[in-house]
Structure formats: C-alpha cells, structure tokens
C-alpha cells in the first residue's frame, strides 16, 4: 500500500505541469466483441457480472482445453485473492463450476443449481435491500457514492439525470445492458441476470445520491 501512495504522487507529478502546446496523442481500441459461452449454470450469470470488470471474455475462452474443475476453481480463487476480484467464496465455486463445465473437462458430477445460488443475487434471489444488492454484485468495486473510482460517482450519475423525466428507466437500462463511453472507456459489465425489481432498487438508490 505504501507503494500505491508513491504511485499516486507520481501521477500528480506526471500530469500537473503547465498546459502543453502540442496536441496530445490519442488512440482508440477496436470494440470488444468476445462473449462468455452461455450456460444454464448459475455461475454463468456471476461470471458475466464479475469477470468482465477487469478483463475481456477471451481471457477465458483462450485457455487450454481440458482443464479440470479443480484447476478452474483454483484459477478463479487466484482472481479473488491475488487480483482482488469482488467475488465471495461461494461465487468462486460457482464460477469455477461454470468454467469447468463450459470450457474445461467437467461433464457431470456438479449438481446444477446448487443450494448456495440463493445467496448470490443470481436469478431467483429475492433481495430488495439496495445496500445488500450493491455489495453482492460488487458495485463498490468500481463505484463510490461521492467520488469516481473506475466508474462514475453515484452522485455524478444522479446529477446527470436530475432533470431527466426518464431517469429511472435510463439508469435501469444502463445497469441491465452495461457498456462504455458514457463515463469513460472501461466497460461496465451487463447485469441482465438481475430481476427488474432488483435493478429498479439499484437505480433508485443511485438517483437518490
């Protein structure tokens, strides 16, 4: 953590000098088209929401064929423990199962729709408390109420849509579809797996900030 502070200090020094004269150089990257393979396994919905926060789906589809449930689960665990992926231990297991079934050598033996799905905010979970939803879906990995993290501050979102009569519908649509370009280049994952009532609860929370 000590080093992180050095890094931030360096960024300040890198960018806070007097305004320049030559134009900055820009690039744009091709659109991201890779998608996770669809599956009825509940881990698919969790993977859609969590894995693509930090990397495109082709990081997964690229991997060698025939990896085992154990290997895939260890890899997902590494994402949580080494890279700070906002996933619970239950979600590590769920995503590992989905990946081993879909991309690996696991064919049978995993009970589909295991009991712990109810805790994840995946389909069927009946949660209406916005703060629980925010935590379960890793929203605070990328957002804070009052400052930009990766995505915009919830307050900035609320401010942008303050006078928009379609605010709730628009924010609900954005949560559901994900996307990029409205606030920055890093895409927000799609949260299409959440129920409409959960998405509405989230949109209302954001717009109240």
């Amino acid at each position: 953590m000590q080093y992180l502070i050095y890094s931030l200090a360096a960024l300040i020094l890198c960018f806070s000098s007097s305004p320049g004269m030559a134009a900055p150089k820009y690039i744009s990257l091709p659109p991201e088209t890779a998608k996770l393979k669809k599956s009825g396994h509940p881990g698919y919905q969790v993977a859609l929401q969590k894995c693509t926060i930090c990397h495109s789906a082709d990081y997964i589809s690229l991997q060698p064929p025939g990896m085992s449930l154990r290997q895939w689960t260890d890899e997902v665990s590494k994402m949580k423990h080494a890279f700070g992926a906002p996933i619970s231990d239950d979600e590590v297991s769920l995503i590992g199962e989905y990946l081993a079934l879909t991309y690996g050598n696991e064919k049978i033996g995993i009970p589909v729709f295991p009991a712990h799905v109810e805790k994840t905010g995946a389909p069927g979970a009946r949660v209406v408390d916005a703060s629980a939803l925010l935590t379960q879906n890793g929203c605070f990995g990328c957002h804070a109420v009052d400052r930009k993290v990766v995505g915009p501050a919830f307050r900035d979102v609320a401010e942008r849509y303050r006078k928009n009569p379609q605010a709730i519908e628009t924010v609900m649509k954005n949560i559901k579809a994900g996307g990029s370009g409205k606030w920055g280049s890093i895409p927000m994952p799609s949260f299409a797996a959440l129920s409409n009532s959960d998405i509405k609860a989230l949109a209302v929370f954001v717009l109240e900030q």
């Binding site: 820009y26 091709p30 080494a82 993290v149 890093i186």
Partner: protein
C-alpha cells in the same frame, strides 16, 4: 484524485471526437473486420488477425487488456522487427488512451539526493545512445507447455527485435544522485489496474543492474517514436531480460533502500517467478519449493524461412534462414540438423547487431531424398549455454528454449 480526473477528461474528449477521424494515429476504426485466422499448433490455438492503431494485422490473444502476437512470418522479413509488426502486451486494463507529450513527466524519487521531474525535452537533452535488443514476453511459447498451464496461450511470436534510442537509466539516476544504501530501483508506468484493490504493475531492478550500461530509457524504436501500444513516449529497455521488466509509458522511477513489499510488489514477489534451481524446472504438474523472479532469456533459435508443412524440391538448392538470440552474451554458433538431430551442420552467421540482438543465420541447403524430413535448429551462446533437445516444465510456462523443429516435405 483531481489529476487522475484530468486524464479521464482527455479520454472522454477523445470519445466525443473519435467519429471525426481526429488523428491518423487513431487510424483503424471498428469497421475494419478481421480478415483471417491463424491456427497455432496446440489445442484451442485458433487466433483472429486484427488491426490495432499503428499496427498491421496481428494475432489477437486477448482484447482487454490488449495482447497481440506477431505472426511468425514477420520474423523472416528482417532482423529488426518492424514497429507495426511488434507484439503488444498489457497487464492492466486501465491503460492510457491519450498522452500529452508536453505535459508528460518522468519522476525520480525515493532514496535519492534530488528528486526529479523530467519533461521529455529535458530527457532528450541529456544525451542519446542506441542499442539493438530483443524484447521477449515472459510467456512466449507458453501454449507449447506440456502439460498445458493457464495464462496467455502464446505461440512463438511474442518477441521482437528493435533498435532502441534513449539514454541510459544510469544517467537519470546519477542526475538524481543515489544515496548510499540504495538496493533496488522500482519502475512504474501509466497503465493502472481497473480496481483499486488490484496490484499495480511495478518491477524492480537491483541497483547494480540499474547502474550498469544495459538498461535504457528509450523514446525511439527503429528510428521512430515508440508506437503508442508499445509504451509511447518512454519505455524501459532491459536488454537480455524478459519483457515483464520493459515498463511501458514509464513515468516513475523510485529508488528503494529496502525490499519492495505491499500490494504493488505483486509482479515481483508473487508473479513472474520460476523455480529457484538450476534448470528453472520441476516435474510436470508439481509445485516448486522455492521460486525467484524470472530474469534473463535463455538461448533460443528459430527457422524463419520454412514452416511446418512447407514443400521443397529434391535436389534443388534453397536458402534456409532464421534467427538466434540469448540473454546477452551473444550467439557463438548455430547448427542445423535435417535428420531429426543425429547429424548437425554449422550455418553462417550474418551481420552482428550486438550481443542483445537477434542474430540472423543462413544456410544453402539441398534436400536430397524425397519424403518427410525434420529440420532442427540449435544455437550456442558465447556463454557456452546451448539449447536442450527436450523441453523442461514449470508452472508458469516460462523460459521455453527447447531445440525447435520444422517438418517439411521434400517432393
């Protein structure tokens, strides 16, 4: 955070104007569709050829963070890899998409007498040296690991050779004045993790290495600005060392009098590590007891003028051509076998671009008998190191340097 925001605003401005074709640099839009695929010779090896800014068609390994591999035929074009064919690899998805060269600053901080904040012009006024050096991704050839391992599934194209121009890292450190007791020099670039809880990508060099005449801070690659995706405007060049040390968009140098620790020590202390033994290897599928950071390349060589499945005519002379390189002692000799490794014939080495460069080799070769033959190439470095006939294994899929084979048909 205000300064971070500034960067973000640049990005947003770009997004608004991108449709107007603002810059030649932006160049390729999403309208250009992948023209072709190449298949690397291992399971799940299909790769799309894609065009990125300032790049010709390269093999897409991953989209975000971007990782693009050089199609192997590029290495037969010239001993210096063209900038637009040079591989691209980022670790962190929050990479800069806009950089203002006038506002760019390289800082030197930590265990120094005088902390510095240097503009690009100030750096360029400090001198200029050139060096030809190979950059090779630590995971180059990982897809050939047997048993396979997780990670970027690379063929042999995540490497390249370029003429770099800049100033020695030492010059900047001397200008700042290294205090006694300095042990490590940590380097950081503008790319950042998406989540604040994810480690940043920071690499360290031992102070003796940093103060040697090897590492460069480069602003030029093959006579041009460094392509954006290769680290514009400043890239750390660590000749003979794997690309994991070649920090792109270099903006921070921090001198340490103690080991690097904490979250951002990840890329030194937890990743990019190899078994700490003589072969850097363990029994396939097992975990090493002790590991250490990966550092220098091992000696490698390739045939570039023929690929697996090439057809040649019996009795007709062909020019066999390829490249060899090692971790910095230079190439002493390269040998070719056309009988699966029983007999070896010395080839001639072309112009020497320095001990860190690809060394081109050539051989006039007359295939005599019809049928399938296995060509093999083996290099020996000035250090005495040579390539093994069988591949060893480590959990990261690093350091592959087995003798390479190409199966061709003589008709």
């Amino acid at each position: 955070m205000g300064n971070n925001r500034q960067i973000i605003q640049y990005r947003r401005r770009f997004l608004q104007s991108a449709g107007l074709g603002l810059l030649g640099l932006a160049g390729m839009s999403g309208k250009i569709r992948a023209a072709a695929m190449q298949t690397l010779p291992f399971g799940n090896g299909e790769r799309e050829l894609v065009v990125y800014p300032q790049k010709r068609s390269l093999l897409r390994i991953t989209t975000r963070p971007p990782h693009l591999e050089t199609p192997f035929e590029v290495f037969d074009e010239s001993v210096l890899t063209p900038n637009d064919g040079f591989f691209v690899r980022y670790h962190l998805a929050d990479l800069p998409l806009s950089i203002d060269p006038d506002r760019y600053r390289l800082t030197v901080s930590g265990h120094v007498d005088t902390p510095l904040s240097l503009s690009l012009n100030a750096l360029k006024e400090m001198g200029r040296v050139e060096m030809v050096a190979v950059n090779q991704c630590a995971g180059n050839s990982r897809g050939y690991s047997s048993p396979r391992v997780f990670g970027a599934q690379l063929g042999n194209g995540s490497m390249g050779n370029a003429r770099w121009a800049g100033i020695p890292l030492r010059s900047v450190l001397e200008k700042a004045g290294i205090k006694s007791g300095a042990r490590l020099v940590a380097m950081n670039g503008l790319d950042r993790p998406v989540l604040p809880v994810t480690p940043d990508y920071v690499k360290t060099l031992e102070i003796e290495h940093a103060m040697s005449d090897e590492p460069l801070i480069a602003w030029e690659m093959n006579g041009q600005e460094i392509p954006f995706l290769n680290g514009y405007p400043l890239k750390l060049i660590v000749p003979g060392y794997f690309g994991t040390y070649w920090i792109k968009h270099l903006c921070e140098i921090h001198v340490l009098d103690q080991p690097l620790d904490g979250l951002d020590s990840f890329a030194m202390n937890r990743a990019y590590r190899v078994p700490d033994n003589e072969c850097f290897c363990v029994l396939p599928g097992t975990v090493p007891d002790r590991t250490r950071p990966i550092t220098r390349f091992r000696v490698r060589s390739f045939i570039t003028s023929l690929q697996n499945g090439s057809r040649v005519k019996a009795g007709q002379k062909i020019l066999l051509k390829g490249i060899a390189f090692d971790g910095g002692s230079g190439i002493k000799q390269v040998e070719i076998s056309s009988d699966g490794g029983q007999n070896w014939k010395m080839v001639s080495l072309s112009r020497d671009f320095g001990r860190f460069s690809f060394r081109e080799w050539r051989l006039d070769f007359v295939p005599e008998n019809q049928g399938e033959i296995m060509l093999m190439v083996r290099a020996t470095a000035n250090s005495g190191e040579t390539q093994p006939m069988t591949a060893s294994w480590n959990p990261g899929g690093y350091l592959r340097n087995v003798v390479e084979s190409v199966a061709i048909t003589v008709a």
